[in-house]
């Protein structure tokens, strides 16, 4: 049994998360005393020593939640993998969402385009691949480069989010052409999936980054046969660059839309997004210092006529974090149903990343953890 130390900490949120406690584990075969049952941990998981949890995607499939995120497989290493935990809710004081054991969902493959895996998003639906039926689809970004450039996006399928994930192709579906668009650009990253019809009409939102900046784009997929996406061009739409005007908070000359997660309110015909503020912090880590929640009329995505653009709903910064403790807020997601849909009239749970500053902790990378806000729309 592994030795584990969990740091004590308090995270009080409206969801009723309780404190974590320190647990020690006796592991001497001659000791007749059975080890105490581990205490149940409620709330968002906290990364262990030398580990990080970042860039999450949280979906609710009925009474079950699935938390998808990036983490390092090896403590104190930067060997990124996609992991998932299943969450269930327990009623009662001091209880709440309980996330189970971490499972590695996807890893990169040495020598392949996805050797360095990035972030991922998942949705439920009805998909076929190589004559087998799958009910979950994942989009993930990855690159063969070791320096966080030239990301592309690929797909994987599974019958259960915490089951086995199967990559769909040896090549990415949304490919960044570094020869044309620059080898030093980040490329196509931060995929965010929406199952538009809750069957297999999929929208892949992503951030596209080149020398001109970071912008949100999407393509629509007819994903009934996921394999056909790679052989039949008609199954993949042209790409659409999302509007980047309106109430977008930022300090760039032209509004940027980096690292965004999207959700769809089909009834209201609106799309919601939570994005990193740009520009990023000038000191390390060079991550965002704020996150912003926005919405836009769906029809504005489909036309180049200038509409009202994005409506800014809420911006959070360090002052909104507990005790103002966190100066980096980034990599957020909106809790949606299993299809990426929400009801925009109801409260939204926002899961976001925090981390220490390098000046305070040279191992800041392994301080990356998840926190949550709740946004309540105006009546």
């Amino acid at each position: 049994m592994k030795m584990k130390k969990l740091f004590a900490g308090l995270t009080v949120v409206a969801l009723g998360v309780t404190a974590l406690s320190l647990v020690a584990c006796n592991d001497t075969p001659d000791d007749p005393t059975p080890p105490p049952a581990p205490e149940t941990v409620y709330g968002l998981p906290v990364a262990g020593t030398g580990r990080y949890i970042k860039d999450s995607d949280l979906v609710a499939d009925g009474d079950t939640r699935y938390l998808l995120y990036s983490t390092n497989e090896t403590p104190a290493e930067n060997d990124n993998v996609i992991a998932i935990r299943r969450g269930t809710f327990e009623e009662g004081e001091g209880k709440g969402w309980k996330y189970g054991e971490e499972k590695i969902a996807l890893t990169g493959e040495s020598g392949k385009w996805d050797e360095n895996i990035g972030t991922a998003s998942l949705v439920k639906g009805a998909f076929t691949f190589e004559n087998d039926e799958y009910s979950w689809l994942m989009a993930y970004c990855a690159t063969a480069q070791a320096n966080d450039t030239q990301y592309s996006i690929g797909l994987a399928v599974a019958t259960s989010p915490d089951g086995e994930w199967k990559k769909v192709s040896e090549t990415p579906l949304i490919e960044f052409d570094a020869d044309v668009y620059g080898s030093t650009s980040v490329g196509c990253y931060a995929p965010s999936l929406v199952n538009l019809d809750k069957q297999n009409k999929i929208r892949v939102f992503y951030t596209y980054a080149d020398m001109y900046g970071h912008f949100a784009k999407f393509v629509d997929l007819d994903a009934a046969d996921v394999g056909a996406l790679y052989t039949d061009e008609s199954k993949v739409s042209g790409e659409v660059q999302c509007p980047n005007h309106g109430q977008i908070a930022g300090g760039d000359a032209q509004a940027m839309f980096p690292n965004a997660d999207f959700a769809y309110d089909a009834a209201a015909g609106k799309v919601y997004a939570i994005k990193d503020y740009s520009p990023a912090a000038a000191t390390k880590p060079n991550y965002a210092e704020r996150i912003q929640l926005l919405s836009i009329e769906e029809e504005e995505l489909y036309s180049v006529e200038l509409g009202g653009g994005w409506a800014g709903l809420r911006t959070w910064d360090f002052a909104d974090t507990e005790d103002g403790a966190w100066e980096r807020l980034y990599g957020a997601c909106i809790l949606s149903d299993a299809y990426g849909h929400i009801d925009g009239t109801k409260a939204m749970e926002i899961i976001y990343n925090v981390c220490e500053l390098e000046m305070d902790d040279e191992n800041w990378e392994f301080t990356q953890n998840l926190k949550t806000f709740v946004y309540t729309p105006a009546a």
Binding site: V180, D197, Y212, F215, S237, V240, N244
Partner: protein
């Protein structure tokens, strides 16, 4: 009898008139006007007045509501039934755009009359302003003028509307502060007051005639410029030694470049533009590709066929000069022009003929064509901003707004980044219906690019 005898030139007569626009504006600007299409030289349009005769003996100017998409040379003659007075050689004739009260746009008439080109208000709805004493010669009895006769010098198309007189004080020569009097008021239909001679056609209209040619079977996309058979007018190269005439439509004041003929997707002649070297400000530019001007007022954006013939994402800008009536800092409302070009961060539509896909792209920092693109480009006018160095008063709201027109259209290319990276264009026009993105989920309801272009009915090469 008060006649126009020997003309006496007053120094102040050379000032610019400040006469308020005398006719209907806005959506009723063309109400009850007539479109006259003479077929040959010497055909005439006779305009009678509301009264059998009018007294112009104290009037300083004759005002004629006028619009033409062409540049007809027209002779204007006042008649009393027996004698007449016409524009004299050297007589100034002014043009004021609808809404203006000041004009610095004028031409000097000759014996055949006066003609207004694209930089003289052509394609704007407005009025001709004729200084009676200065510009007319003859022996008409100004106390009992019975008609205005307009004579053509060839086949053309022109809209004539109301007629008015203006009486202003000579003063500083602006004649400001005077009064107009309607001689022919078109608040009601007065078609019977207009008579066309010989074969010329005459038609009463209520709206501006459409001057644009619709593209193919499209009802919402125009084709105002194509390059069929126009090699001699466009092909040329600027490599440092040619004259402007030799370089043809490549501007020799900029970086090096060339225009060659090629074919578009339909086998029609198109032009291929290439920046070939850096010089001066670093931009290769074409000359004005639309010397006759074009009216895109009320349209939503510019459209054209294009092909990226290079191995990079090629980028180019569009330089468009828009003419409209603006309010100057001194309060004068007059015709002015400003240059607009495309700014970074604006979305535009690409329809690729080879993939059948519609893409919504973003200017980076100008129009960019992806590698391998061949198809149609739709750029909304909202993507244009007035150039920093152009400040004659045309606002963003007036750009392509009512009573505006384009008198300059050119491509410019940042030569360093796009050197020897050619692209081809054809079928330049404007669109009135914005093409929408369509996918397996998003329904464009018949407004996709190929549907709006009517491409289903057009064969590709």
């Amino acid at each position: 009898m008060d006649t126009l005898g020997t003309s006496i030139s007053f120094p102040s007569d050379k000032a610019m008139p400040k006469i308020p626009y005398a006719f209907e504006e806005g959506t009723d600007a063309f109400k009850n006007t007539v479109e006259w299409k003479p077929t040959a030289k010497d055909e005439t349009l006779t305009v009678a007045f509301d009264e059998a005769t009018v007294d112009l003996s104290e009037a300083t100017h004759l005002l004629v509501q006028y619009y033409s998409a062409k540049s007809p040379r027209l002779q204007y003659t006042l008649s009393d039934g027996t004698n007449a007075s016409s524009l004299k050689n050297g007589g100034r004739v002014f043009f004021m755009g609808m809404g203006a009260n000041f004009s610095d746009l004028y031409v000097a008439a000759n014996a055949s009359g006066a003609s207004f080109g694209e930089n003289k208000g052509r394609l704007l709805m407005g009025m001709i302003v004729i200084p009676i004493a200065e510009s007319l010669a003859g022996n008409v009895d100004l106390t009992k003028v019975s008609s205005l006769q307009i004579k053509a010098t060839g086949a053309t198309e022109v809209v004539i509307g109301g007629v008015a007189s203006y009486k202003g004080e000579r003063g500083d020569g602006s004649y400001e502060g005077g009064e107009s009097a309607m001689l022919l008021n078109l608040a009601a239909s007065k078609f019977a007051k207009f008579t066309a001679s010989k074969e010329g056609t005459l038609e009463e209209i209520q709206a501006k005639p459409v001057s644009n040619t619709m593209y193919g079977t499209s009802e919402t996309v125009t084709e105002d410029l194509n390059f069929n058979g126009k090699e001699s007018s466009y092909v040329g190269e600027w490599s440092g030694e040619q004259t402007q005439q030799e370089a043809n439509k490549i501007f020799i004041g900029g970086s090096y470049g060339k225009i060659e003929m090629t074919e578009d997707s339909y086998g029609n002649d198109a032009i291929q533009v290439t920046a070939t070297g850096v010089r001066g400000d670093g931009y290769t530019a074409t000359q004005n590709l639309l010397p006759n001007g074009v009216c895109w007022a009320g349209m939503k954006g510019v459209s054209f066929w294009a092909r990226n013939d290079s191995d990079i994402e090629v980028a180019f800008n569009l330089e468009v000069e828009c003419t409209a009536v603006v309010t100057k800092s001194n309060g004068n409302k007059q015709v002015a022009s400003d240059r607009f070009n495309i700014q970074q961060g604006n979305r535009f539509v690409l329809y690729d003929l080879n993939t059948g896909k519609t893409t919504i792209y973003m200017t980076r920092p100008t129009v960019t064509l992806p590698v391998g693109f061949e198809g149609w480009v739709f750029i909304p006018f909202t993507a244009f901003s007035r150039a920093d160095w152009s400040s004659n008063g045309v606002t963003a709201e007036q750009f392509m707004g009512e009573n505006s027109y384009v008198n300059f259209f050119a491509f410019s290319i940042e030569a360093a980044k796009n050197q020897n990276k050619p692209f081809s264009v054809n079928s330049i026009g404007a669109y009135s219906e914005t093409p929408l993105f369509e996918s397996v989920y998003a329904d464009a309801n018949g407004k996709t690019a190929p549907e709006l272009l009517g491409l289903n009915n057009k064969e590709e090469n």
